[in-house]
């Protein structure tokens, strides 16, 4: 790039392909295509409608979180409590409705308020103490994990919610968060879950905010150079706290999608997922150091994760190979992202 500038100062026009190649999500898109083709060719069910419905459904809930976590990572922070929040919100709804007979919609809004409050606490703690968000949210993660398990046991005497489908207005909430459409008109053809549409909507909204609004500009700025951003008048505190609340809000949405998909929720839901969100975001082009990344990329990252997850099952391989694959993907993605960043930062 540097030599090109020296040779020809005026570049007449860049082709659409060249422009595309510069996008952060291009690596994840290419990998997703390769993985899709591979499993579509080597297994029978992968590319059929019921197979696709399975991995799309898996990608949707991971994807919503990965997109929110990507925004936060572009803003220069991590959230390790993001997985546990999906469990917390689901449990709150389950316990309030089945144990205390609260209206299901009221319970849903209370759980949203709780999620946003957790995000607010995360954000304020990180910004006020100046501690790395990795440590602060590791703390909230353990707190939530403990509260989810011990609190649930203390309140209902068991570790899973039961009988949620019998509470009044359950069908309404199910229609919003847990519905599915049968492909080809019958259940055997696979069912496309409503969570997939939520995922698409969240990805589209996040991309629009990131690239076309002032807030999006600020997200890149606070992640890329916080001091500089503050100097030119970007509200750093509000932006970062807003990002933590967004991640927590996404955790609430996924919590609702999970609880109304299965009409039950385990006290351990979401624990262990937080790193998968981060991996998906990084595979999608987010820098670990902030300031660069893409929401669409994170959605592709989740798609890759879910396709491999299903593909391994359809291929009849040992399931645990998934983790080895995840590790390799993460390392490759980080190296690739670092290379892209160096090229962008150092080219003169």
């Amino acid at each position: 790039m540097a030599t090109a500038t020296a040779v020809d100062e005026r570049i007449a026009r860049t082709s659409t392909l060249t422009r595309l190649m510069k996008r952060p999500e291009i690596g994840a898109l290419a990998a997703a295509v390769v993985i899709f083709v591979f499993f579509a060719v080597t297994t029978d069910t992968f590319a059929k409608s019921q197979g696709a419905a399975t991995w799309l459904s898996g990608a949707s809930t991971i994807g919503i979180m990965a997109v929110a976590v990507a925004l936060l990572m572009i803003g220069g922070e991590f959230d390790l409590s993001a997985g546990a929040i999906t469990g917390t919100t689901g449990l709150v709804v389950g316990i309030l409705t089945t144990e205390y007979g609260l209206n299901v919609w009221a319970a849903i809004f209370i759980s949203l308020a709780i999620a946003l409050f957790i995000g607010l606490v995360n954000g304020i703690l990180v910004m006020r103490t100046g501690l790395p968000s990795f440590i602060v949210t590791l703390g909230t993660f353990f707190v939530l994990q403990g509260v989810n398990l011990a609190g649930t046991k203390a309140l209902i005497g068991q570790v899973a919610i039961q009988g949620l489908s019998n509470v009044p207005y359950y069908d309404q909430a199910k229609a919003v968060f847990g519905a599915s459409i049968d492909i080809n008109g019958d259940a055997a053809g696979g069912a496309l879950r409503i969570s997939v549409f939520w995922w698409l909507a969240v990805t589209a909204l996040a991309t629009w905010i990131l690239l076309r609004t002032r807030v999006g500009n600020w997200v890149f700025a606070v992640g890329g150079a916080q001091t500089s951003a503050r100097q030119v008048g970007v509200p750093v505190f509000k932006t970062k706290v807003g990002l933590f609340m967004t991640t927590a809000g996404a955790g609430w949405l996924v919590g609702m999608l999970l609880v109304f998909r299965t009409s039950t929720v385990q006290a351990g839901t979401g624990v262990g997922q937080e790193f998968i969100y981060i991996i998906c975001a990084v595979v999608g082009g987010c820098l670990m150091t902030g300031g660069y990344g893409s929401a669409i990329g994170a959605a592709f990252g989740a798609l890759i994760y879910s396709m491999v997850n299903s593909g391994i099952v359809y291929s009849g391989w040992e399931n645990d190979w998934l983790f080895a694959f995840l590790g390799v993907m993460l390392l490759v993605a980080v190296l690739l992202n670092e290379w892209v960043r160096k090229r962008a930062e150092l080219a003169r």
Binding site: A221, A225, A229, G233, K238, M245, T246, G291
Partner: protein, 299 residues
Amino acid sequence: MIGKSTESKTPSKTSEVTPASVPPPVGTAVIEVKDIGKRYGNIIALSDVSTSVRAGEVTCVLGDNGAGKSTFIKILAGAHEHTDGELLIDGEATTLSSPRAALELGIATVYQDLAVVPLMPVWRNFFLGSEITKGVGPFRKLDVDEMKRISKDELAAMGIDLRDVEQPIGTLSGGERQCVAIARAVYFGARVLILDEPTAALGVKQSGVVLKYIAKARDRGLGVVFITHNPHHAYPVGDRFMLLRRGKSMGDFPKSEMTLEELTSMMAGGAELESLAHELEKTMGADSAIAQEMKAEAT
């Protein structure tokens, strides 16, 4: 989500400084400092500094490392509040509590690190914190084309012809980035421009380019505060020189009372140089080249 929570609390009017502010007539004092000082606990970082910044003039603040230049500009920029003396802006005693407050009074600071985000495109950096939007309510979005056009035009007016404002600002040279930062401050209606060592990290040619923009900003009616330790950079563009040494002012001189030679010698600290020459003579021998040179310089 974040679109609502942060955007609604920050209406565009407070953060968008209107570009078309009318500059006051040349020579009007915008900022006056009278015996200003700053103490951190029992440490006196700066004391008894007086000078003025006038529209259409360049006030140079000269001093060696640790002389108190940074403290002085931080007071003007709103990063630190002064503890002694008076800061008059448009004749009114003021304490600047934040960079934002300074910005709202039309005092813009271009820091050494330039306050740019290296990975972001030039146009996004140009408008960062003061983005132009169109549309209403939740559909309010960035006016990308307008911002690209303005940043390209404004940079062209400053003599920087970028082939692509979409390129990350980290890919520009140091001088170019400096000029983007200056152009940005000028566009956003700064009446006073504070430049913190803009030529420190630059080569001879790039420094010349930056000095040209300082002159250009002055000709547009801005008051410029030019911080430097190089009298050869300060003298050609400066109208007024304030020298700092060890946290104290050595005086505030209009250009008519000062020649480049006097400025250089004061900067170097004539008396101090003489004792340094003497010391070198003792340790390295009277005939050593460096001691001879120091002696020549001091006298």
